[in-house]
């Protein structure tokens, strides 16, 4: 059996890649995909712990997280479409109407 720590390390790597993507990418959709990567890394961590602990709570979480992530995807895409209608771009650096 593959040790749980491997899954946890994979989860941590995926999560870090997601954070890195959010911080470095400038395209809205790519940022959004990076956020999904973070959420899925969390799912992997939950499943790995649920197997390790032999508890169902972690698996139950994954369902909720998936549903929330889907709703988030819908809202996010709608917001990016609305932004595109205004600016013809979804580059987040171009969204600079307000700053100090």
């Amino acid at each position: 059996m593959i040790p749980t720590s491997w899954f946890l390390i994979l989860g941590a790597i995926l999560f870090s890649l997601g954070v890195l993507g959010v911080l470095t990418r400038r395209n809205g959709i790519t940022i959004f995909m990076s956020i999904e990567l973070m959420v899925n890394a969390v799912n992997l961590t939950f499943i790995a712990y649920a197997r390790e602990l032999g508890s169902l709570h972690g698996l139950m979480w994954v369902f909720f997280i998936m549903a929330v992530a889907a709703a988030e995807a819908a809202v996010g895409l709608a917001i990016f479409i609305a932004l595109y209608r205004h600016r013809e771009t979804i580059d987040v650096d171009e969204a600079n109407l307000m700053h100090w």
Partner: protein, 125 residues
């Protein structure tokens, strides 16, 4: 336990070495005569009509987005179905409650569906 994966590792390494080796040998031994039709993505196939980096109509995304939501919600029904079968065997009270819960869930989905439908999000034009 990990040792049992060693043959797999050897197989993977062998596969990589074989593929890479043949390409390298081909590069040095073979002759290169380039021409436009040879460099086309599908050599000898149908010529490309257009580039693939085109903007896609946003309606595709909208439909996909709606699909994802209903698709994910359907995932909730599977664990419910498993539990429901057990519940019907043990106590009818709990089974009735579980059935009621699923009715509530489906009704909530229906509210969203009716809203989307009446807002004409499914109309292509």
């Amino acid at each position: 336990m990990t040792e049992s994966f060693v043959p797999v590792l050897i197989l993977i390494l062998f596969g990589i070495a074989l593929g890479a080796g043949m390409l390298i040998v081909n590069w040095y031994v073979g002759t290169h005569r380039r021409n436009p039709s040879k460099l086309a993505p599908y050599e000898g196939g149908v010529p490309l009509l257009d580039t693939n980096r085109k903007r896609i109509n946003v309606r595709f995304y909208q439909i996909a987005m709606l699909f994802i939501i209903f698709d994910i919600e359907a995932a909730f029904i599977y664990p419910w179905a498993v539990i429901y079968r057990d519940a019907t065997m043990t106590s009818s009270g709990i089974a009735l409650f579980a059935l009621g819960e699923m009715f509530v869930f489906v009704t909530l989905l229906a509210v969203g569906y009716i809203y989307v439908w009446k807002k004409k999000a499914f109309d292509w034009n």
